[in-house]
Symmetry: C2
Subunit: 236 residues, 2 copies
């Protein structure tokens, strides 16, 4: 079966967490909206009156006749199928819990440039973004990444579950990679406080399938339309 | 087995979505932090260096030796055990997807009074809260609740899955109830556009176990410390 991934074609965004899992799994997939009339096809599905399991927003995944929405939910589905999560319930729930915590952090990162409304431009909420980001860097990355540091200490590493890679490790890689793009100065200062998290990042980046993906045109470069944006005035 | 729910004792908050599921299921549970030294016990678990499945934040649930964190994850666990979600994978994923969409909306509702930082008081971000809330009411409840209206139309109702109640219906009830408390004027104006969502709310409220719960001291009243807060200046 060839999966169909539906996501905005010009950004990594939340779709990237799914792409990383598909790539690590070596799964066959089409990134629908990046080809031909794919984006229109995606928008048509979102507007469908008949679709039984209507997604609220991209990303969503078509797996045969199933349509699955919500990033963490797509990963829950893929994880058990492709060895990216334990089969037993307790382990599956634990990976899902880690993933949901990562998604919460990603929401907060997004708000560093859009604290007032996603529908407005960054330029129309710069003042609020500055205040939000200042507050954010006083405690949030420290708290979230510090939490994952503790999880890695308890698991014994090198991955969040111990020896075994899970999709949550791929997502943690993406968060570190994104934060380094968006806040290079701030991340340089935080680095030595989160050695185990940084080690997960480095280890994931070196996995053969991930390394090949990152070097390929399938990996959309970071830019100022996605979740992780580089605005120098926010990284002082 | 008696579940142990851990959540902040003075608010409904995210813990309420779990409480509603436990109550509808008729499950035996203790709301740990609301009794004796329960809150200290909760904080001790969150600070544990040894806990294998360390939660990032409340709510979390102890089920025998399992500790499960993240609201939607706790509900995923409870749903399949107490008949509040289908047993088959496709149905379980669909309810999880609906729940995650509700949680996204809840995050946005929270930000109406805390757009800059959870660590600051409302009074220290009133100006930004006013601007956020104005933007929010231009489109977000319409979009989210309009989505659930479409899901209810496609399912045939009366519940999100059709004839069968799921934990996502209980959460949808809570969102409508909370929005009515926080934004009585705004919700009065929106009401006629979301008749099916309002019908889910009313039907859930009349379920015997939920009605008994809502009338009991176990239900903490809404207040200005939780997610849904009534600030008249934001409801103009």
């Amino acid at each position: 079966m060839r999966y169909e991934l539906y996501y905005w074609p010009e950004i990594q965004g939340r779709g990237e967490f799914v792409r990383l899992a598909l790539e690590e799994a070596g799964a066959a997939y089409v990134d629908v909206a990046r080809k031909g009339r794919g984006e229109q096809k995606m928008i048509k599905i979102l507007g469908s009156a008949r679709e039984k399991h209507l997604p609220y927003a991209p990303p969503f995944l078509k797996a045969g006749r199933l349509i699955i929405g919500q990033t963490a939910n797509i990963l829950l589905y893929l994880g058990s199928r492709h060895g990216l999560a334990p089969r037993a319930e307790a382990g599956r729930l634990w990976v899902n819990q880690l993933q949901l915590t990562i998604m919460d952090f990603v929401n907060e990162v997004h708000d560093t440039h859009h604290p007032i409304a996603s529908a407005l431009y960054y330029e129309d909420q710069r003042k609020e973004a500055k205040r939000y980001t200042q507050q954010f860097w006083e405690r949030r990355p420290q708290k979230y990444l510090g939490y994952f540091e503790r999880v890695l200490t308890a698991s014994g590493g090198p991955y969040l579950l111990g020896r075994r890679l899970s999709y949550a490790d791929l997502s943690l890689f993406q968060v570190v990679e994104g934060l380094r793009y968006a806040f290079p100065n701030k991340m340089k200062a935080l680095k030595r406080k989160i050695p185990r998290v940084v080690a997960v990042h480095d280890r994931v980046a070196e996995r053969p399938r991930i390394a090949a993906y990152l070097a390929s045109p399938r990996r959309i470069p970071f830019n100022e339309m996605g979740i992780f944006r580089y605005y120098p005035e926010l990284d002082k």
